[in-house]
Symmetry: C2
Subunit: 209 residues, 2 copies
């Protein structure tokens, strides 16, 4: 019953949001809750269990309360994808945890099920559904993690100087694409385009024997 555990987890979320995940130490968390570090261990087995609890908390927030049945499978997929990206934009530290901790909480299973039914509704052969679910979730979480960790916007150095470290004739691709590489990237638009590509991939899979 006692909502104490939830209270602690939320405090941990707050700390992570304000000062990053590495600022979540048992001592700092205890301070914020107004308690001694060791007191936390009554409500949380471990530090790693604490992290699990944190992503658990996020997952429940992410899920649609009830899946509106009047949406097409493409809309439902898009909604889930955007929700996932939204969560990791609000909590950039979370992206990594989504990868490391296997998703076995009830909420995570529910999320997987949404993708399953979307794929089935799309007409994908059942034997292919689990694989495609993994493909999709891997990409979506990967995109979110990349965005959150700055993999897509490497540092402050612009593309030109980055390229400059290598002789230009070793990088024919970069030379050829130079005009496009200097453009700023709109990651929201890019994510949308990626989702559309994935929907196409699904339709193609549904159309195959």
């Amino acid at each position: 019953m006692s909502g104490r555990r939830e209270e602690i987890l939320d405090a941990a979320l707050d700390i992570a949001d304000e000062n990053g995940l590495e600022a979540v130490s048992m001592r700092a968390l205890a301070d914020r809750v107004g308690v001694t570090p060791m007191a936390l261990y009554r409500h949380v087995k471990d530090k790693s269990a604490l992290l699990d609890g944190m992503i658990g908390r996020l997952l429940t927030a992410l899920l649609p309360a009830r899946t509106p049945a009047d949406q097409t499978w493409e809309e439902r997929l898009g909604a889930l994808g955007h929700a996932c990206r939204e969560v990791t934009r609000r909590h950039p530290w979370a992206a990594h945890l989504l990868f490391s901790r296997p998703a076995v909480t009830p909420d995570a299973v529910r999320a997987v099920d949404i993708v399953y039914t979307a794929l089935i509704d799309a007409g994908v052969p059942e034997s292919q559904v689990p694989r495609l679910e993994r493909l999709i979730s891997t990409f979506v979480i990967g995109f979110a993690a990349s965005e959150a960790s700055g993999r897509f916007t490497p540092g402050t150095l612009d593309p030109r100087s980055r390229r400059g470290q290598l002789p230009d004739d070793e990088l024919p691709g970069h030379r050829r694409l130079a005009p496009w590489l200097d453009l700023p990237v709109d990651l929201t638009a890019e994510f949308e385009a990626d989702l559309e590509d994935i929907r196409r991939l699904i339709r193609a899979a549904a159309a195959r024997p």
Copy 2:
């Protein structure tokens, strides 16, 4: 000049391979090199610089010495993908770092260039190439990271018991797919199928106006 830095990085790789990434502490590393912890700081600015150096070392090992020009773009893409997965299978701890550290080393840029030229050769419109490169690398690294962290094989509990935590009628997708979910997954074959799906996605992008 002095190969001391490389010697240190390799020792760090060894520790990580044997006991996991969290076992790579400055003290443990110093012990293995046969030196005092503080001595490491002459060759490595930071602990985080040490980690950067480690993935740098891996990346050079991953890259093809020279790209054989007699391969089709599909073969080159597949080779790079498999090389990436191979590295993270040999060094499971590395997958996460690939995500967190933006890839700005010369070797990383070279790897990106291989994908760029493959996409160009495939006939993808140049404006789409950078986005698709990000899509592909995100998926490939994400797959590797998922596999390494066990996201694809959640714990020891079988699918049935995992599902058991929730009422079955809340999970129509799982119920429908039950026969397929109980099958063991061959991740090598799955990765191959995923790559093929991605190649199809590329061909489709090339065929669009």
